[in-house]
Symmetry: C2
Subunit: 189 residues, 2 copies
């Protein structure tokens, strides 16, 4: 039954599964406190095999990060499509909405937060810069908005990360309500 094509692609398919597991696990514990064995368990695979699919822990984390930013750009693209032909601000607004939906499950959000904290590893710093460049460039060219608008877009994205990380909502206190005002349903799940 396992025809040549399937067998040949098995290894690559596994790699994808492992990357998905890595996103989930690294998002939970961050880079340093998430053992490879956790990712392996999530992917129903032995820890040893992870090292056959990826040369080391860093590579796996970077692969997860790359995939994360890929998904982010994809979501922004979908959002922009919802405002086809509208003015730049409107397009950026829709992008923000799409981003909020994407990170509702928190995995992609927390992965970015953890990545920012692991930038003392050069490969990770490079990956974050690469991803952020792609996101920023896309927002600039696709929306056609001015630099200040895109800067603001990213800044409020960062604020959104903070709010979700800390589980802030109006019931945390007045100060939290101020920070979370108008931010689209962060947290929740």
């Amino acid at each position: 039954m396992t025809k040549r094509g399937a067998t040949l692609s098995t290894s690559d398919a596994r790699r994808d599964v492992v990357v998905d597991a890595a996103i989930a696990e690294f998002a939970r514990g961050g880079y340093h406190s998430t053992p490879i064995s956790a990712v392996a368990a999530k992917a129903d695979i032995s820890p040893a095999y992870v090292f056959k699919l990826f040369p080391g822990k860093v590579s796996l984390f970077v692969a997860a990060l790359d995939r994360c930013y890929e998904l982010v750009v994809h979501a922004l693209s979908n959002g922009a499509a919802r405002a086809e032909g509208a003015d730049p601000d409107r397009i950026l607004y829709e992008m923000g909405g799409a981003y909020a939906e994407l990170i509702a499950d928190r995995n992609l959000l927390m992965l970015q937060v953890h990545a920012q904290s692991a930038t003392d590893t050069p490969e990770i710093a490079d990956a974050v810069r690469r991803g952020l460049a792609k996101v920023t460039d896309f927002a600039l060219t696709r929306s056609g908005a001015a630099g200040e608008q895109v800067q603001r877009f990213i800044a409020y994205g960062q604020l959104c990360h903070l709010i979700a990380t800390l589980d802030l909502d109006e019931h945390t206190g007045d100060w939290a309500a101020v920070l979370a005002a108008g931010i689209r349903h962060p947290g929740k799940n």
Copy 2:
């Protein structure tokens, strides 16, 4: 020569020294990948004694965080004093300038970034919420600005953290120039 007063206060004095060392070391490696021994070495003290001064690693990190936010509020206060009597926006602007100066050495900035990534430890999450609450409340009451202005203030502070973490400046690329535009000299040790 060690008079009674000095001897009696030695333990507390040591604690302060250790907290300073903890800020520097945790800022470099983050919570999980910074061993107590690194902090101890920086404070010229044996690792074992750190555990006599603090009940555990988490307590030490939280103590460092508390001190960090204390310094931030203090800086904001100084900044606000420079715009005494001016309009809220101007006061917030001066606060931003004072904050930029404070985090020029990056230690306090990176500590906050790492803390956000270590919020799966409840004590740390609490400490971050506590600190952010103090900062937000102070910005609100001291400047008298509207909630949206303070929200923006914090959002751009977060953006500033991202820029400094990644060492972005105009020479990193056009996208980086967009993000860093108008942000007051981040990085540059």
